[in-house]
Point group: C2
Chain length 332, copies 2
């Protein structure tokens, strides 16, 4: 672990735990499943935190629910607008429905149908953005800003937001409880990273005995490059990749600020490797993971020596994948 | 509920709970997941108890582990033999490995590869039975008897066994705890039924305020016919059906004895309907179910009026399915 220079700026354990207690009756406690195959591979213990079984099929519901819960009354009336490649969209929609807060969403035109439908099912208004330039994220973001202005709504960023990071930290607090109940602690936690809210939240919870890893895919390792450079840096993108939730080119500012202080390390996998992780999760654990949700497992499969003899938790962060895509992956 | 004539013969709550406490640190607490789609369908609340996420991918591990744990020391040394179409086989193998008890298994030659591999992975000796007459179950059963005799091993029946039923009852006790924690009770529980250990165990736990249902597939409704006739009766079989864990032609004697006393009701679904339930579980909940494991959900989809305005739990009893099969179902 590197030194922690500006601890006072970071939300403390009390604040994180208060947030967890605020939302825990509205989020699902997701199971922590041991993988025998991966445990044998590293001659240690590998546990999968199955956030694919969270409400709306991804951890994103947690941060969205916490964020909406803490809006002012007048903000709740005006509603919120956001852009998202999918899982935040569904999480925000479901949270909005539960709390009776209007949600307007901008989504990329090529977002998986299952994710678009998921959002609409929860009563959100979905606007598809046709533009890919300078990147699909940035085009959709600009469109969302305009819509928020038009409606006097609060514009939410799917990850670059302190309150959302605090909400996502509930994954790690719940995990800590589960580990403690079975008398365990963990040496490593691997988090799939798009913009970095899950990894930032997790790194706030776990202390220096646990190494938190930011797992990204080749071409989209904005967080990894930023960690190396010690400042916000941009990945190149432009690689075809079905990890649709991990395509952010650079980390959130708030997120990077946290992970630079907490000593997170970066690791990158080939997106094809997430397919191996999907097959393993299906065959051994009956767990549906989407390509983005399986990269933490892929990182272990790809680098077993890094984790030898250790207790390792991989977060299976989401499971929303179109049936044709999933079928082709498990049959390969 | 019908009257309960011979209550004294049934294991009481204390015994059931003692068994649950004996095994609970070795079994997984499986999540209870609300289905919004099914809840809307019945205008009530439908919860899925996801035993597909149990160790070895099905509830069968519970009964097997409890049964082996309570063998005498000399029995543990000699080992056990059993026949099973698959999920009991894997559960017994894993339990044997954990408790260091030799396991010899007879399986039908056409059991899904995933189930055969599952058993072998846990160190069991697997013997495939090529014979289908008078039924694949009965041919395999005769072979298992012979092997047990040859090795001086305890012959286990996969379901017609009081101790195994008591072990399976832990699903219902765990469910009761989960419901109580969220201040809920349930009006109906639906259990997939092969020989009837899960439904018998569940019916011992829940009182007269909860209707327990035995869900079978057309052609293999031995339990349903037996409940109607008030005595053990035999289904016709001979229908092509991919619910490979539900093909027993008649219920276990111990199992039927219990369910006749506890007022279980029977319900039958077309095996094709389980495919609809599999698709729903995949799309809405990221849950892999096998055809046999999805019939309780199929029964709700098929008979929504029966459950209108109620709180209903469907047990998703297993999720071990070959990838090609699963791919073809979710793409249909």
């Amino acid at each position: 672990m590197s030194a922690v220079p500006n601890v006072s700026q970071l939300p403390d354990y009390l604040k994180l735990n208060h947030a967890f207690q605020q939302i825990r009756n509205n989020v699902r406690t997701t199971p922590l499943l041991k993988s025998d195959t991966l445990s044998e591979l590293i001659r240690g213990e590998v546990l999968i935190k199955a956030e694919s079984l969270q409400i709306t099929g991804a951890f994103k519901f947690r941060g969205a629910f916490y964020r909406l819960l803490n809006l002012t009354e007048s903000q709740k009336k005006q509603g919120v607008t956001a852009y998202s490649s999918g899982n935040f969209a569904a999480g925000l929609s479901a949270a909005g429905q539960l709390l009776d807060i209007p949600v307007r969403l901008v989504m990329p035109h090529d977002a998986p149908k299952s994710k678009v439908n998921n959002a609409r099912r929860y009563g959100a208004e979905v606007i598809l953005c046709q533009c890919n330039k300078p990147s699909r994220e940035e085009a959709a973001s600009a469109m969302a800003r305009q819509i928020a202005r038009d409606h006097g709504a609060v514009l939410l960023h799917p990850f670059d937001d302190h309150e959302i990071i605090i909400g996502q930290a509930s994954v790690a607090l719940e995990l800590q409880e589960q580990l403690a109940m079975s008398g365990k602690s963990c040496d490593h936690i691997l988090c799939p990273v798009g913009g970095g809210s899950l990894v930032a939240g997790s790194s706030l919870v776990f202390g220096s005995n646990t190494q938190v890893w930011a797992v990204e895919v080749d071409g989209y390792q904005g967080m990894g490059i930023s960690l190396e450079n010690g400042r916000r840096s941009r990945a190149k993108g432009h690689i075809l990749c079905d990890c649709d939730a991990l395509l952010a080119l650079e980390p959130g500012i708030a997120n990077l600020d946290i992970v630079l202080q907490t000593g997170v390390r970066g690791i990158t996998v080939n997106p094809q490797k997430s397919h191996d992780a999907i097959r393993l999760s299906f065959q051994e654990m009956n767990l549906v993971l989407e390509p983005s949700g399986a990269v933490a497992i892929a990182a272990i499969m790809d680098n077993p020596a890094l984790f030898e003899n250790k207790t390792v938790v991989a977060i299976g962060s989401g499971g929303n994948v179109d049936p044709d895509k999933y079928a082709s992956i498990i049959q390969a």
